[in-house]
Point group: C2
């Protein structure tokens, strides 16, 4: 399995220490340390001999001892309250990805919505001397149930409400919504409805406002957005409202949905009414939850929040903070992208 290294020490009990390497090479630990780290002065021959010895013995420096001395553990904590959600996972993977190459490991801390659990995790991380913390959640407009405000280590907030004066990264929901609505406009749609989630979510308003702005900018009439639940069932209901009473000429020719589940419901309901997607009505969703977007008939065009990138950026931002580079506090918005499938229609040939 190993590619080029010597065979791994087969279940040798205690790990090899620097002292043993030094003894085997006939030098002092100080010299051995310097040889391996490229520090100090010695003949190239000595340095190489020590390195070879270390390699042969399978020496790997004890991170704990290094951390103790360097006051840097090359470890960060990742706090989340989104245990079952689909938002955290790509985000977490992004953070981990961005950091593993720099030798930084990530502590996974699932705090649910439990203050006690949050406290417990934060204290554990502090005790373990993490270099910093990434806080992430399932809602962009809610705080985690922990206080990270004066912690002596840097904190970056990703996809969750940051403390004032902290560094926060979120997706640009308004931009994402514009992407979708502008697409519709370019495709010649004129009556673009918006079906979205409950008013208690900030993103509902952000996206609705962007939707309205684009309509106005293009001289199109904007009705009220339809607010409901984040569910397929609400998608069904919304279709009943939009396509129910009025004559065909009053129907929308496009529906921009607040998430993919709603879009799924909308598409299903339209099909049940014999309304063709995308010929009669275009549909675009939000979140680009692939397993849903690819199962709708036709496959769903959707706004992707690039959460993995968001995670990577958050990891990098934290690292930069840890290394002492100051960062402008405030919220940075990262662009979304539109993943075009078939539900929005194509440009007329």
């Amino acid at each position: 399995m190993s590619t080029d290294a010597e065979p791994a020490p087969v279940s040798a009990k205690p790990p090899v220490t620097l002292r043993e390497v030094a003894a085997a090479a006939g030098v002092s630990v100080a010299t051995a340390s310097k040889a391996l780290n490229g520090q100090g002065r010695m003949t190239a021959e000595t340095r190489e001999r020590i390195r070879e010895t270390a390699r042969l013995l399978g020496f790997r420096p004890n991170s704990l001892a290094q951390s103790l001395l360097r006051k840097r553990s090359f470890t960060v904590g990742l706090l989340t309250n989104d245990t079952y959600g689909r938002f955290s996972l790509p985000l977490m993977a992004g953070v981990s990805d961005a950091l593993v190459d720099k030798g930084v490991s990530v502590f996974l801390c699932n705090v649910e919505d439990d203050q006690r659990l949050g406290q417990l995790h934060v204290e554990a991380m502090l005790d373990k001397r993490v270099d910093g913390i990434v806080a992430t959640g399932k809602r962009i407009d809610r705080h985690l149930p922990v206080d990270l405000s004066n912690l002596r280590i840097p904190v970056v907030y990703a996809f969750t409400q940051p403390d004032p004066g902290a560094v926060g990264l979120v997706s640009d929901d308004a931009g994402g919504a514009r992407l979708a609505v502008e697409r519709f406009v370019r495709l010649g749609r004129r009556r673009i409805a918006h079906v979205t989630g409950p008013a208690s979510f900030a993103v509902v308003h952000t996206r609705a406002e962007a939707w309205r702005d684009v309509l106005k900018e293009n001289g199109l009439a904007a009705s009220e957005p339809l607010l409901g639940a984040w569910s397929e069932a609400w998608g069904h209901d919304a279709v009943a409202r939009l396509f129910g009473k009025v004559g065909r000429e009053g129907w929308p020719d496009a529906v921009f949905c607040g998430n993919d589940q709603i879009a799924r419901g909308v598409i299903d309901a339209l099909r049940e009414r014999g309304i063709s997607v995308p010929d009669d009505v275009g549909v675009i969703g939000f979140d680009n939850w692939e397993i849903v977007a690819e199962a709708t008939r036709p496959p769903l065009t959707s706004v992707d929040m690039n959460l993995a990138s968001l995670g990577r950026e958050a990891g990098l931002a934290l690292l930069s903070l840890v290394e002492g580079h100051p960062a402008a506090p405030g919220i940075r918005k990262l662009p979304c992208r539109l993943v075009v499938r078939q539900s929005c229609g194509s440009p007329p040939q």
Copy 2:
């Protein structure tokens, strides 16, 4: 935010050390250490005074230093290759949950299917002296792209293929399938079909076999299971095959599906054909992916693999191993449970 402790040291630069506590209390570090750990002998008064001093100063022992000495880092690694999947997340949360109360933190290691990434993560964990590793994946019948066979620290495999001689925890898929099929039998269904995923998955065969066994045990005829993809589309196709040509009397009166997406497709296709679920045909899915199971019409009865419990068990098993208790190697199967909603029908009154 803190509940009862002294106000946290407001961004005091260096953490308080034991030496400082000792100095403040007028004792040696040795005595201070013993006082705080309940070791050694001293007057109750001295012990209490030291403890009070530590509390006042907000002393928290440096885990790094402790780990170095105790040869135990109270840290484990969690390896996964299921970045976007829905299986890992509850599993990971379970592991984390089981361990946080014991003061053990979890390193999140996302290895995708990349050998290099796997190697990188494993080496990083080893360097950081994790006490053990939980390996988990998205498929029960595949190895992770890393070699954990002779690692000097204990390894527990959860929901992934274990190395021979190692400890592995998986869900009892056969038992889960029995739960579903026996339910149908008790409800009086006689022609129970099985629509499932591709033959390349081991669970497809495990579940199909259990399905067949239950049918035989109850004197019911077993046709061939329908193997296809893990998708809604395949659920549609399967319905076309099952309910297509033959007369109504040849139709199944129940369909056991290999996962919830297939079940979703089946239910939708049945409705499109005007076949009532659950009156004409009962449907049960697998995975209990709530967001799908609750969106089907009617809501889907489904087999839940109890992944969070599986994760907890895995965490506990690893901990036990770390603490030196020997564990029987081999694969332990954890029971599934049937989450009853409306798609399977109720007992006749």
